[in-house]
Each structure stands twice: as C-alpha cells, then as structure tokens.
Amino acid sequence: MDATLHLLSLTSPGWGGVLLGGLVASLQVAFGGYLLGLLIGTGGAAGKLWGGPILRDLLEVYTTVVRGVPELVLILILYYAGTDAVNQLMALAGLPSVDISGLAAGIFVIGVVQGAYSTEVLRGAILSIPPGQIEAARAYGMSPLLALRRVTLPAMLPFALPGLSNLWLIATKDTALLAVVGFAELTLVTRQAAGTTKAYMTFFLAAGVLYLGITLVSNLVIRAIEKRALRGMTRPGGAA
C-alpha cells in the first residue's frame, strides 16, 4: 500500500489532482443543491402552512414521495426526466433545445430531494415560534411580508438550525450517488482512478479522508453558526 501512495500526488502520473477536481465538483453540487433545497423548502413550508387546500395536499404528496423513495431511484428518474422535460418545454416554446450540464442536472436533482426535507424542517421550526411574537409584529402594524422577514424567519432560525445542518451533511454525502449516473464527482473519479491503477484501497481510503474532512469542517462551521444564532437564548439542551 505504501508503494501506491505516489499515485496520490497532485500532478500526473499521480491522480491527486483528479480527486481534488472531483471534490470540487461534489462540493459545488452539494452547495447548489442545498441552496435550491432551502429555496424549495421555504416555499414548501409557507405553502404547507398558509397555502390553499389544494397546494397543501400537493406539497404533502411531494414530501411523502421524496421521503419514501430511495435517493438513488429519484436521482435516476430526475436525471433523465428533468433534462427531457426542460427540452420538451423549450420545444413547445419554439426554442432550440438547451444543453443541460451534468452540474446543473446534479444540482437540480439534489435540490429537489433536499427540498422535501427542508420543507418539513422549516415547517416544524415555524410552528415552534411562540405565536405571541408574530401577533406582536402584527399589532405593530407590520405588513405580512415584513413580519415574515423581520420576525418569523429570524425567530424560527434557532429551531431550524439542527435540522438544516443535518441536511447539509446529508447533501454532501448524497452527491456520491450521482456516480451512478456518470457524473464525475468524487466517488466516480475515485473509482475510475482505482480501476485504472488497481490501487483500490489507496484511492477509496483517500476519498474517505476527503469526505470525512468535509464533514468535520462542516461540523466546526455549524457549531460556530449555532453559537451565534443561539446567543442570548436559554433553553435546556438548546445548544445541542
């Protein structure tokens, strides 16, 4: 195994550079997908809480389906169907078919999956805000949007943080599933490198270290954010 360590060097014939490229691709997809998921989640939570009955039921279907079907299967369906749908829409609008990059498709897929979970996390967090706080905002004559921005969103943050940080960690690991559709993220390039050089252990362990690094760094950042968001709050176990 020591004999294969030189394969990890950053320049050719080492595969280190390729692995780092894969790491960057993974992080891009995780980050993009997470943000898209938050966006969907915010809309979804608002829809579930204050939307009409039809919207509420549709959102329920969305979150149930996404949470009940393996990510791997969703990724396969969305990866093909997503591109297909966009191009059919473009054709309907009389536009030339666009070329959807693997990155965009990956972000879309991860985002849709994350969106369902974010919806639930944010909905739960909004429900945990003491109603008095929102009533007070209304009593001050704030418009609904202003109340949302100034009171509801900041007040729910401490409740949402544990769930949201968990989702981020899931997002970074879910990107590995894109290997199955041939997107060159960390896990796939690792397999390519391992297959070509036959140094399976070396490369899989190296990728493991990189993933673990993401998780550990994320944990540090999350802890810092939680400390800031929870300042001035005293709740038993609130900092968990």
Partner: protein
C-alpha cells in the same frame, strides 16, 4: 438599482440564449463513464484517452463537426441518447438487431471476436460444457451479457453483471469469478497488465451468433438524425481510405481491428 437588476436580467437571458445557440452546433458524443481500456479511459490528468477517443477526433474532423466527449453511465447510455443528453454514442457499442429497434447505427468501425478468459491452471474452454457450474462475469447491458445469458445461462452456476469491464476483471483476479466473457481486445489489454499476467489466460473464442453478437461496432445515433448518419458514414469511409484509421490503430494494436 432597478435598472441594474433589469440589465443584469437581460444579460443573463442573452447569455443563456447564446449558450443555447453555441450548444446547438456542438455534438455531444457519449462514451461510457467507466474505463474501457484500450478504447477509452481517463488518464491521471482526468483526460480521456484511447483508440476510440482518437478515432472520434479523426471522424469528427473529417465530418467537420465539433465533437465534445461526454462521459455517461454505460447502463443509461441509450436513454441518454434518446432523451438528448448526448447526440451520438462512440462507446464500443456493437450493432445488434435488438438495439437497432431503439436507435440507429452508422456503418461499423471495428469488429473483434468475443473471448472467454479464466484463471491459469484450470483447464476449460469457451463452450457451455466447459463453463458448466462456473461463475461467469460480464459487463452489464453488453452483447456479451446477452450472449452469456442465452448460451451459458442454463449451465453456469451464476452470471454476474458488472457496471464496468474493469470490475469484472478485478473480480476474476481476486477469485470471485471463474471466467469472464468480453471483447478479445479489451481482455487482451487486461491480460497484458501485471495483474492479468499473473492470474489469467485466454480460454478461447465463443461460437459466433450474429443475431446477438452483432456485426461490429458502430456509432449510435438517434433514428431521426439521418443527415448526421450519412455524414459519419462518409467520414468513416474517408479515414479508412486515406490512412488515418490505420495510423491511429498502429499505435494501439499490432493487427487490423476493422475485421472482415
């Protein structure tokens, strides 16, 4: 602020439109995202290299189309073509009647025999009798998988399907398989490697069945893209006659892989 936003939006739209227009002239050529040496595999700098990559460059230059190599998961490569994620397949895909129901093919650009390899020291040959009770490995959704299921399926103890040829080879070397069936050239590349030399040898070629094994490897295309097909056919003929094909092949193989 509003104006700034508006102009940013316009710029973005124009950017998208420009990207769409540029993409329309580029041809996305799909190869399997799994390494398939010596035809196509990524090297340590992440670049795809191999005979088929050189062939693609030559054919596209001849046909005057701009080709972009796009790695796609092999088991989804036909859906990727039909759902327009890619525009052509140059992934050592054999022309078979079954596949021709779904997609179109150019003329063949290489054709090599199908062989079975196994560990040294065990004597058997590439017949149903020889493979009786053995665990046979093939790459998923290949002609070899179809062939193995039809001819060896009833007698072997198990047929294992792998995402990549490489993994099947790896499992043969690590003793989890008794035999692997695949294209002779790619197997030869494995047998020439240190790992392959140590463990395995060719057991023989399988009996031909054109219905399954097809008539050589062609460029996979959507059925409606007939103009592209004509272009590629002309280009293949041209590089066959002007010596480019032989020049590329010489740096990889000692014999003519075009076949009869």
């Amino acid at each position: 602020m509003k104006n700034l936003l508006k102009s940013a939006a316009v710029a973005l739209l124009m950017g998208v439109a420009a990207a769409g227009a540029a993409a329309a002239q580029e041809l996305k050529v799909g190869v399997a995202a799994e390494p398939y040496p010596p035809f196509s595999s990524p090297d340590a700098s992440g670049k795809w290299v191999g005979w088929e990559v050189d062939f693609m460059n030559a054919v596209c230059a001849e046909a005057k189309v701009k080709c972009v190599l796009t790695p796609v998961a092999w088991d989804g490569i036909i859906p990727a073509l039909t759902s327009k994620k890619i525009d052509a397949i140059m992934g050592s895909m054999s022309i078979t009647p079954e596949r021709s129901k779904t997609i179109a093919f150019s003329d063949k650009y290489y054709n090599t025999p199908t062989a079975v390899i196994g560990p040294k020291g065990v004597k058997f040959d590439a017949t149903p009798e020889g493979l009786k009770g053995k665990v046979l490995g093939v790459q998923v959704s290949t002609i070899h998988a179809d062939y193995a299921k039809k001819y060896f399926g009833p007698v072997v103890s198990e047929i294992k399907e792998y995402q990549t040829q490489d993994e099947a080879n790896q499992d043969l070397a690590s003793g989890r398989l008794d035999a692997v069936q695949a294209d002779l050239i790619t197997l030869q590349a494995f047998l020439d490697s240190d790992q392959g030399k140590a463990c395995c040898e060719v057991k023989g070629n399988v009996k031909d069945d054109p219905e399954i094994l097809g008539a050589g490897v062609g460029i996979g295309l959507r059925k409606e893209d007939t103009a592209l097909k004509d272009k590629f056919n002309a280009a293949i003929k041209a590089i066959r006659t002007n010596g480019t094909y032989d020049k590329i092949s010489k740096s990889y193989f000692t014999f003519d892989i075009y076949g009869k």
